[in-house]
């Protein structure tokens, strides 16, 4: 029973709790916030694994950028005080249960099939410098640059789409 | 001094009374009386200009357009026309567009309650020729209506709303004739001489 163990459980409960609340809430704003909470908890888990870089990126991209973008979108569009509640039929309930079960089965199979046999490596191997070396000095430069180009094109494309709408 | 003034006041009042009685008289005309009472004023140097203006207007719009015309000797000898209400809309666009007038600038627009009738007074200015003109339009008290000149001088918009608000004169053709200074639910028109305030005061 180490502190690490405790921290893991608390963070795991936070992550799952956030996800459950995200499904449960009625208001979109609350949903987005609980999702952000989940992201944050996951970042905490990464910290526990000594993967600082990944943790920070998780916060920067998911908790920071993605969630804020969602909140922003929600605020820009108008919403009724409460979204209309679906009348859930029996079929609906069964179907969703089946899908959830199927998803769980796939997830578990992936976890059990994964070769978690390697010993915990030297964490200095996963430092930022090593990561950069892996990325830039061992042949991943071209894919990396291509990806960035793709993102740039997407960015410009979205701007053009938005501009077009304005002209109408 | 004071006695004299009192007398004047009395005579003025009695005259007003007299004017109220006869029905066939179209309207009270305050201006000529000044000329009668005071030692005859020297004819204004602008009289020829006025004659010219009146002539041009009658040429274009007919005899009935101008009911009366005089030079207001107060200040800068202002040419003043009293215009028939039915001809006002036409005359207004003429005054603005005619090359030798070009009264494009609406300086002021005021409504006056003359007790027997209302009067809307326009002060126009020509930025081309640097001269000023005053136009009076008489409005019937029982049916206060006058064509709006917002389409000719957009500046008249709020002035007309204000006059409607305070005197209750309807401007036909005004795009948004609503109360402007008083609350929307206000009753009565405060600047009318017979206005009785409904509220008890604060």
């Amino acid at each position: 029973m180490t502190g690490e163990f405790f921290a893991f459980f608390i963070l795991a409960i936070c992550a799952i709790g956030g996800a459950v609340f995200m499904i449960h809430f009625d208001r979109v704003m609350h949903m987005a916030l609980s999702l952000a909470f989940t992201f944050f908890a996951i970042a905490g888990l990464f910290f526990l694994l000594d993967a600082e870089f990944v943790a920070v990126i998780q916060i920067l991209i998911y908790a920071g950028a993605v969630s804020i973008l969602m909140l922003f979108g929600i605020m820009l569009t108008k919403h009724q005080e409460k979204e209309q509640t679906f009348t859930r039929t029996k079929l609906h309930q069964w179907l969703s249960f089946l899908f959830a079960l199927g998803f769980l089965a796939i997830l578990m199979s992936v976890i059990y099939l994964a070769p978690f046999t390697l010993p915990a490596g030297d964490q200095s191997l996963y430092s930022v410098n090593k990561l950069a070396e892996q990325l830039f000095k061992s042949g991943y430069v071209l894919p990396f640059e291509l990806t960035s180009l793709l993102l740039l094109v997407a960015l410009i494309g979205s701007i053009i789409l938005a501009k077009k709408e304005e002209k109408e | 001094m004071t006695e004299e003034n009192n007398k004047e006041e009395k005579t003025a009042q009695s005259k007003e009374d007299q004017e109220k009685k006869p029905v066939q008289r179209p309207a009270a005309r305050p201006r000529p009386r000044v000329k009668k009472e005071a030692p005859p004023p020297e004819p204004s140097p602008k009289e020829p200009l006025l004659a010219e203006l009146v002539q041009q207007v009658t040429e274009k719009l007919g005899e009935q357009a101008i009911e009366e015309s005089y030079v207001n000797q107060n200040g800068e000898h202002l040419l003043t026309l009293v215009v028939n209400r039915d001809h006002w809309a036409k005359l207004a666009s003429l005054l603005k567009q005619e090359a030798n007038w070009q009264y494009t600038y609406l300086q002021n627009c005021a409504g006056v309650d003359q007790q027997t009738y209302f009067e809307v007074v326009y002060h126009l200015y020509s930025l081309e020729h640097h001269d000023q003109i005053c136009v009076h339009v008489k409005v019937d008290r029982d049916q206060p209506e006058i064509p709006s000149v917002v389409n000719i001088w957009p500046a008249a918009n709020w002035h007309e709303r204000e006059i409607y608000d305070l005197l209750g004169i309807q401007f036909t053709g005004h795009p948004n004739l609503q109360r402007i200074l008083m609350p929307d639910e206000w009753e009565g028109y405060p600047l009318r001489k017979d206005y009785q305030p409904l509220d008890e005061g604060v």
Binding site: G73, L76, T77, K78, E165 | M1, T2, N5, E8, E9, A12, P30, R31, R33, V34, E37, A38, N72, N74, G75, E76, L78, T104, Y105, L106, Q107, N108, A110, G111, V112, D113, V121, H123, L127, H130, C134, W153, P154, A155, N157, W158, H159, E162, L166, R179, I180, L181, M182, P183, P190, L191
Partner: protein, 366 residues
Amino acid sequence: MLRTEEMLLNVGPQHPSTHGVLRIVVKIDGEVIREATPVIGYLHRGTEKLAEDLNYTQIIPYTDRMDYVSAMSNNYVLVHAVETMLKLEIPERAEYLRVITLELNRIASHLVWMGTYLLDIGALSPFLYAFQDREKILDLFNELCGARLTYNYMRVGGVKWDAPNGWLQKVEQFITMMEKRMKDYHQLITGNEIFIQRTRGVGVYSQEMAIQYALSGANLRVTGLQRDLRKEHPYSIYDRFQFDVPVGRHGDLYDKYLCRMNEVEESLKIVGQALASFPEKGRVLGKVPRVLRVPEGECYVSIESPRGELGCYLVSKGKDKPWRLKFRRPSFCNLQILPVLLRGENMANLVAILGGIDIVLGEVDC
């Protein structure tokens, strides 16, 4: 496609940038204004109605409350109308005092405008500088007539009080100080890149439009039309002084700022000249009957107030009270153009454009 909804925003009547109790109902789409409707009347006191029950001297303090930023002009326009009807001769010394106070008041008014305008745009400091300088003018007025804002100084036939001893010297000192301060202002604001960015090319209108909406004052001159009633129809003794009428070229907010600042400089010139030729002795109140009975008739006089053409239409039936008194308030007329200017503008430009018109709500609502 995703569409954003229009939002109805109520700017005012209590809002830091409406300069009083003006309300603007704005429909915005994101930050772009689709429609703006000014709602006025929150400060309507019925001055014109009240005036019908007061004699002429009693009306003067009411005019103070109209344009409370430059009350001298209001005082003057009423007095000027009555004097025109009475065809009164005004003592020389009174005329000089009138011109000096009118011009000082114009400077004070433009300083208030400049300060609050910069405050609207987001700069804090010019506001305090401007108010410090204005304070000096108010002190001068305080010494002259015992009031800082509501002067009640002009009377039919002259002014109420003569300048106290040493007052003229103080005015002279103020002018030399103010000339230096103007350089400071130009250094602080005129060349400020952000200020230029915020005002250049914003709120532009053409000369025709300005005439159509009967704008006056700097709002009209900014389009390049040189119309200043002090030059065009000189009233009082303005024909004796040398001064220029600054005009703008682009019709935008930056030009408005330059126009008003240059006007301050011209006013300083006028006061300087007036001080130089100030008559040594003489009455400050002409011979007027105790009870003022204005002969029957009507007249319309207009003067160049800091905000534009301030007119007074007076109808008299020969009594000691006016039959009808109507003020042509420049703020009221100038404000009409606001909805047109705001359409399609950015929300942040709302305060800049509104501030550029330079309204005083006491005058708009009268």
